[in-house]
Subunit: 409 residues, 4 copies
Amino acid sequence: MKEAIVLAYSGGLDTACILKYLELQGYDVIAFVADVGQREDFDLLRDRALAGGAKKVVVRNLQREFVTDYIFPAVAGNAVYEDRYLLGTALARPLIARHQVMVALEEGAVAVAHGATGKGNDQVRFEFAYAALAPELAVISPWKDRTFLDRFEGRADLLAFAEEQDLEVEASEEKPYSTDENLMHISFEAGLLEDPAATPSWDMFRLTRALKDTPDEPLELTISYRDAIPTHLHLPAEGTSFSDPLELFIALNKVAGEHGVGRIDVVENRFVGIKSRGVYETPAGTVLHRALRDLEGMAMDREVLRLRNELAPKFAQLIYNGFWFSPEMDFIRAAFNKSGELIDGSVRLRLYKGNVEILGRESPRSLYDPELASMDVEGGYDQVDARGFIRVNSLRLKAHRVILEGAGQ
Amino acid sequence: MKEAIVLAYSGGLDTACILKYLELQGYDVIAFVADVGQREDFDLLRDRALAGGAKKVVVRNLQREFVTDYIFPAVAGNAVYEDRYLLGTALARPLIARHQVMVALEEGAVAVAHGATGKGNDQVRFEFAYAALAPELAVISPWKDRTFLDRFEGRADLLAFAEEQDLEVEASEEKPYSTDENLMHISFEAGLLEDPAATPSWDMFRLTRALKDTPDEPLELTISYRDAIPTHLHLPAEGTSFSDPLELFIALNKVAGEHGVGRIDVVENRFVGIKSRGVYETPAGTVLHRALRDLEGMAMDREVLRLRNELAPKFAQLIYNGFWFSPEMDFIRAAFNKSGELIDGSVRLRLYKGNVEILGRESPRSLYDPELASMDVEGGYDQVDARGFIRVNSLRLKAHRVILEGAGQ
Amino acid sequence: MKEAIVLAYSGGLDTACILKYLELQGYDVIAFVADVGQREDFDLLRDRALAGGAKKVVVRNLQREFVTDYIFPAVAGNAVYEDRYLLGTALARPLIARHQVMVALEEGAVAVAHGATGKGNDQVRFEFAYAALAPELAVISPWKDRTFLDRFEGRADLLAFAEEQDLEVEASEEKPYSTDENLMHISFEAGLLEDPAATPSWDMFRLTRALKDTPDEPLELTISYRDAIPTHLHLPAEGTSFSDPLELFIALNKVAGEHGVGRIDVVENRFVGIKSRGVYETPAGTVLHRALRDLEGMAMDREVLRLRNELAPKFAQLIYNGFWFSPEMDFIRAAFNKSGELIDGSVRLRLYKGNVEILGRESPRSLYDPELASMDVEGGYDQVDARGFIRVNSLRLKAHRVILEGAGQ
Amino acid sequence: MKEAIVLAYSGGLDTACILKYLELQGYDVIAFVADVGQREDFDLLRDRALAGGAKKVVVRNLQREFVTDYIFPAVAGNAVYEDRYLLGTALARPLIARHQVMVALEEGAVAVAHGATGKGNDQVRFEFAYAALAPELAVISPWKDRTFLDRFEGRADLLAFAEEQDLEVEASEEKPYSTDENLMHISFEAGLLEDPAATPSWDMFRLTRALKDTPDEPLELTISYRDAIPTHLHLPAEGTSFSDPLELFIALNKVAGEHGVGRIDVVENRFVGIKSRGVYETPAGTVLHRALRDLEGMAMDREVLRLRNELAPKFAQLIYNGFWFSPEMDFIRAAFNKSGELIDGSVRLRLYKGNVEILGRESPRSLYDPELASMDVEGGYDQVDARGFIRVNSLRLKAHRVILEGAGQ
């Protein structure tokens, strides 16, 4: 009996060739397809995989799990990589890998395989998740295998192999950049984008309208959170409301995209030490981040905010580098679950020509006290107290000055 | 002979009354006026101060020093308080205090005085700077003085005193919010803004146009940096260029303001433990931050960026809390001077309806290598190396899984 | 009816005078005495308080709670202030304050009072705990009250008042330093210790023997932990074992003290900005820290250890500064509870002449793998993998060198 | 003409075989020997290398540079890996690699080679230094080369090869553990130490006496620092003083070793993800750390100390992981140079039976003020100020309690 391998299959040229290549090496290949919200004909994919040598195809709809277990916690934890990237791809990988591993265990496979390149981040994310969840499974990663690399030196070799093996793949034309799409975002990199001075063309984008083409009327909306998790989206102009997490996220993606929200263009640092240019569209994610950060201003204690924000870049780095399933992530998430408690309330926003404007916010757990903040009324605050506060805090500074002067500085 | 006091004088109702109050207490009051770019009639201010009891008035134009020694280093160090506030007011205070202290020492004064409230941040910023620069000077802070507070319980008492003392002050009407303006920004707080759910009216803003009223044509511009400091602003459509720091900043303020860039509305945490709602307009500062962060993506080492960004919130907090002159600030700035080295290059941007879009960037010190980043060519990178990289990094994760399973988790 | 106040009463000159002073001001004073392991005659204390004006005396034995809820979690979280101080006093204060507040609420008191000085840390620890637990209670802190300070300018005034009021207090002689004792430690400060160059005399110490007088035979012991909490102390030479937390701690204090373990002498930074010299004896605490750190080496993941150790100084600072009951402490403890999970095992130690020597350790959750660590056998590790690991990690360094050379550095 | 390789040569079995192996492969092998203070017969080493195939031998005495440029800055920056290890080996590697690279460039070599194992830390330290200093040089690392690994599967193969090639090497017996010695320390790992529960035998140690055998009389000494760097060692009992850095360090090593100071036994985390057990003797380093930390208590500002100590574990990690020459290290050292300024003064210590006891300290830059610290005199501190200080700091805590109660917690 042949040994079985579960391959993360996207239907693109690479994984189609890998599927066949592995089959020819004598494996039973099970193609695993994750629906994380990318626009895709999954029936067609299934047919192609079977025609292309798969013993079996497993398609799983992971959209809801993606929103509730990955996107929402990431936003709650202020996960922003290198101050800008909202981690759309990085968040989907551990989810996909987790289900791929589940399929492998169910099917009694001996290995898991993926088609991610040896220069990128995704290989790391797949393989760390495999290691963390099922270290007993072998990992097959053709783009890091010398034999495979020598056999397929460029795209032409893949195309020739696909033709030779009669593999159905998408239009054989090379795309001007490579993309990854899911519910959270679409990313663009490589190809024309490799010149960091070059501006991407307006027609590249898919999830957000060009600012010139966005509506001339702003759109108001209200997002509510409970324990830092979105619970409600209200669009007063349309008279619609959403509280199902998946529906909420899809609806927000739609309106934010229409108003041109969520495009960024960055040069970022990959885990393998390479700088890389990426362009991203993250409409709903951008709005959810902005609104929750605003609500935290009201409802999160100052020192908790400080500690959370000190750990947030590490949280983002762990996600980016593929450590979603790791003991250090569990450590951070234990703290973040605590800081998310009682971050309740709603934020009123306006979307307009790429902008997410905060109009106001309300919270039943507000630590903001208008009386205390007021410059007109004392509100339980004795201004004389500030004298001692400042004088005590000044002691160090005065002592330091004396030393500097003693040292002739 | 009377003892002299140097008062930070703004010409508003508060400092006008304080000036007279101190004079009546038997001091020679020297009014110190700092020109940090606020729109103000400094001649009028001088006359009013003299008419209102000042023995002497000293007006200093600190605009250039503000840009080169405070704003530019703050932007270089990614100083953003609580993820959003660019610290316009907080940056000006130590500069003002420093010159106020210089005047006090020149004039042989025994004390420095200010009119900042006992609930706010500015008192702290003034007084920490005084303590750090001239601990021998006494500090007079009427709004933390029980006698003064009892004498002036509200605005009405100040107005009555002003009338009684024949003080010329601005329109006696109460403003709907209090503001602070300088080259970097204008801030709005208190008054109508005390309700955090209330949206400020469109006519409040002064440095930025409402998005609806911004030009329909985007504006392209290029900003160049050397060692992380802006050296050149080029506006191709206008055919103009600026390399003088002050002119550059003023020109950038103008175009960024026209395109509606740099408004934020936040609930923030004051150093005295009060949450406070602030609205800010920071046109040029916003653009400079965005552009430099982008350039850093190209030219700053990943791990340096990480360390710098771990310290940046502390840097911002120190600025916000008034510790510009402090040994811990010197510690951080020594490191930041190092990380700013060789951050050279230029960023091409587009301003449009409140958006700052990155169009491209170039750097003679670029660590970005298109060949290395490319998915098509190997570019000196052996993808097989990634196998060992990932496997070595996976060791911990595999060991952790084994332990979890041993513990029945 | 008189209003009631609950005073944290130690029976010393200060709190004896304060008790009477408050009674004379017309309050019903309830003396609250916490037994946190200090050597004290609590019956005598009770009698003195009643004789000295207390309406009621409440003595609570908090020893067990101190060990299980304060000392053990502090050790588990590697709480070491400024790299040396193990926080014996700082840990007891919130416990005492918590029970004092409970008594105040039970007794319907309107205020809580303490006798800590206005220059020290303990006032902060008491009052932050009061604020966090019962903000509705007033706080009476005579040593920060101008009237009281003017009435009692020095020790002589207190003694005179005590005599005048017929208060029974300890020997009227001034002690050469002030001390605070509990189960965890005894501290010495002030008095003769105020000269930081002066060595304290050998007869000052109480919990640890002078090294010269310790046994010439080392003592071996084994400490076991479960989830980072001590569960078992075994003393093979004596054939005794302890698993009750309080008994375990007391037994360990005894043997560690006999062997001279746990003395330190430091200049530390108080929260009020004053540097202060302290000498501490912390026998059992020192051993528990040392042993647990060793076990963590075996059983804690490297990156979790790193994150925990990054937060540990903040944890220590929060304890030192009195923020035991605070939202930021809850945030940190949520993470630390996670990192403590599965830190199971036992450490074999030798106590000898002040040294705590690690002899060996065992853990059922050990992440240490002798085969993997071995230089002789490969043990599932492919050394060739390290090549890729190093080469990938070197990319950044090589790129940086190229830039430095380009810049002529 | 043959290509030249510079090999880091220790004269042990491994590098002797590697030398010959490389020669047989057709290279001119230049043996580079660094004298970093290990006890070694360098003439013998030279002869052996030449007899064993080296074209040339370069021996460099790097002892002084090791002390001034590596050990002292590491101690100044509080470099302690995982809270215990003082990094003796990790500090020497970049120094050795730097000179090895210099020799390679001088000799026109095409590559540098070392004999460190593929499982350890030293390979990383060598190769990162090579990458950072001369990325153009090839790196030859036989223990990560599959061909070499297959040829030499164990110690027996090496011994057979040595015999076959007539190589002179030390006693052919296997040692019970592997060691690395230099001025700073000696390390022991592997072999018998691989069982973490096993106590090393008393006769393993070389730099420190067993506690039982140390003198019964304590030894007093005084160490002076300027800008955090040791400038003077005074041994009053012997009437000797040292101010030359190398002599100072050697003298301190001697007395500290005699008194049994500086042994540790830890399980640590290697950079390659393996946990490893190490035993170290670091006599002088331990004393210098202890004394400087004490002086910092007097002379370093509290907040600078905090920031420095937050970065110190990262500093230690960078050293441990081989990033001595890296941009992130330059960043940290820029800050640490600042924090070291004005850390001047002297510390009086007593060495006794493994203990380093602090007796007292003095500093011309002391921030410690006995009057301010005193509980008896006010010393320029108004205790009433503490009231405001505490009340302002309590605001957050009170607000948080109200929210918790509102939420029913």
